[in-house]
């Protein structure tokens, strides 16, 4: 069964994202996709979705959505909360890490996010049109999402309605892979660390860097001790390929870490690249936060990735299902407890 949500207020910095758009980088089309892919998977798991369904990525001011039709299960993953105003007028606070079922005319207002990245998943995933194999919004090329745009009022978001009256919900422990206040981000040196003076490598790996307020889905500027190029000329290269996690250093010596919406090629030398296991740490950093870099080799990067995957498997294995959603029951006078197994929940179609 289909469900439909209307965007009452798009908020700020919110977009539809999935696992990304692969196979088009040679045409200049970036990968996009969730900045914190494990957290997006968590949100999906909390509504019974496959891990790669499209979700709403929240970066600043959360959106307000209203159910047009269907019974729609929603869940938040991340450090933020929401308020539901039921059709009856009654209000209810929603915490992250627990699912809630919404009914027609119910309204969900997601609060501010004080930094980092959070996800809102809906049953069945956001079923906006697939474009070039993905639903991820890439605003620069106006593809993905709804008409290539960030979330904004007036948009309709197709999703799935619950087949049965499953007034029992999911809940879990918070997912966390964050490194805490003094966060260490692991990198592999290269591809152009030989364009820098040897002491620049020591600086990168030995000093603290602050996350600046200049950041978006394309990249994140850092403030800290400058990284010296070998010569003035070596601050520019003939453009070559880049990927999310690359730490490029322009002439001023201040590093910029590329993120999911980065360009496909770039003309600044890249001193090091953040390993895939630690990319989510970047998505969760607040302006002003301090980070350090540590160098690892390919084998260590692989075991870090496998450890992160194992951590996620364990998290999803511990997730509980069957928590009674008393509020939903209270709200729907026709409801009766219906202990149908959740297997009937529609899989998302990608």
């Amino acid at each position: 069964m289909s469900g439909l949500l209307e965007v009452i207020d798009g908020g700020i910095g919110n977009s539809i994202q999935d696992t990304g758009r692969f196979g088009y980088r040679h045409m200049g089309i970036t990968v996009s996709g969730a900045l914190d892919s494990w957290l997006a998977r968590c949100a999906n798991a909390l509504v019974g979705n496959a891990p790669d369904c499209a979700v709403i990525e929240i970066r600043a001011v959360g959106p307000t959505l209203q159910v047009t039709h269907g019974r729609i299960r929603v869940a938040l993953a991340g450090e933020l909360s929401a308020t539901i105003t039921r059709a009856s007028g009654r209000s209810q606070q929603v915490a992250p890490w627990v699912s809630v079922t919404l009914f027609p005319k119910d309204r969900l207002e997601v609060a501010f996010l004080t930094g980092g990245t959070a996800y809102l998943a809906v049953s069945g995933g956001i079923r906006s049109p697939l474009q070039l194999g993905s639903r991820s919004t890439y605003q620069r090329a106006a593809i993905g999402g709804i008409d290539g745009q960030p979330l904004m009022s007036g948009q309709s978001l197709p999703c799935a309605s619950q087949d049965h009256r499953q007034y029992h919900e999911y809940h879990s422990d918070p997912w966390s892979c964050a490194g805490g206040a003094a966060c260490t981000v692991r990198v592999m040196l290269g591809p152009q660390h030989d364009y820098f003076k040897p002491q620049a490598i020591d600086t990168l790996l030995g000093c603290e860097y602050q996350v600046s307020a200049q950041q978006d889905r394309m990249g994140m500027r850092l403030d800290g001790p400058p990284l010296a190029h070998l010569t003035v000329q070596s601050a520019d290269i003939v453009s070559d390929g880049v990927t999310p996690g690359c730490i490029q250093v322009p002439g001023n010596g201040q590093p910029i870490i590329l993120l999911a919406d980065c360009q496909t090629v770039g003309g600044y030398p890249k001193i090091a690249t953040v390993i895939s296991a630690d990319l989510p740490l970047l998505a969760q950093m607040h302006p002003g936060q301090t980070l350090r870099f540590a160098a690892v080799d390919a084998r260590q990067a692989k075991s870090a990735l496998l450890a992160r995957e194992a951590q996620w498997e364990s998290w999803v294995g511990d997730m509980a299902f069957g928590v009674h959603n008393v509020a939903a029951l209270y709200n729907d006078p026709t409801a009766a407890w219906d202990y149908v197994d959740d297997q009937s929940n529609e899989e998302c179609d990608r």
Partner: protein, 255 residues
Amino acid sequence: MNSLSVPSAPRLLPLGDTAWTLEFGDKIDPALHARVLGLAGALALARESGDAQFVAVVDVVPTFRSLTVHYNPLLADGERLGEDLLHLAESAGSASQVGRQWVIPVCFDEEFAPDLDDLAKAKGLSRDAVIALMTGASFQVYMIGFMPGFPYMGGLPAELEVPRLASPRKAVPARSLAIAGAMCSVYPWESPGGWRLLGRTPVPMFAASEVDSPSLLASGDRVRWQSIDKSRYLEIEAAIGAGRFDRQSLLPGVA
């Protein structure tokens, strides 16, 4: 002579645990680019034939002087993949005439070409001489980047080489034909930009609706510009708007 010696093996450079760059050199040079295309072609063949070594590869990006191969780290032994790519590069050789041969219409009317008169004056050429140089040359697409569908093309006649504008425009109209340094391009969308604008094509450089190839051009393609007048420009623009335009008509060598 260096140019006659056996080409050196590319350098294998890691981009973290999700990509390798195979770097053939550090300059913009047609010979280096031919080696990039040679490896890209060999890798495409290996992937099409279902070669298990390369199943983890998700994106292959040719640039002026290197090939970046992105892979899924969960499906690959990264170091092994790097070695396999180096071996492939040794046997791949060069490929220069691999792409399509486009003839793309451009209107050089004043309203579309705000920098044409200045360029002609600076070079001591007539307006028509600049147009003749542009339409007489064959441009080689080195890579697509900067923005989706934006081609970096070499082959600009040396008489027309010119630095970027000292102060970039806030908004370059979409489909503007532009040059800077020894490069030529067409802006796919309206965007800020500092390249010199010499004309405009009615043909979109990027169309997401073309699922197989949203970018009109690809690395390795060759392009000739065909001068058209304003009325022809408007005709083609209208045909494209109405969905009555076939990209194939820009490939005259293809029957």
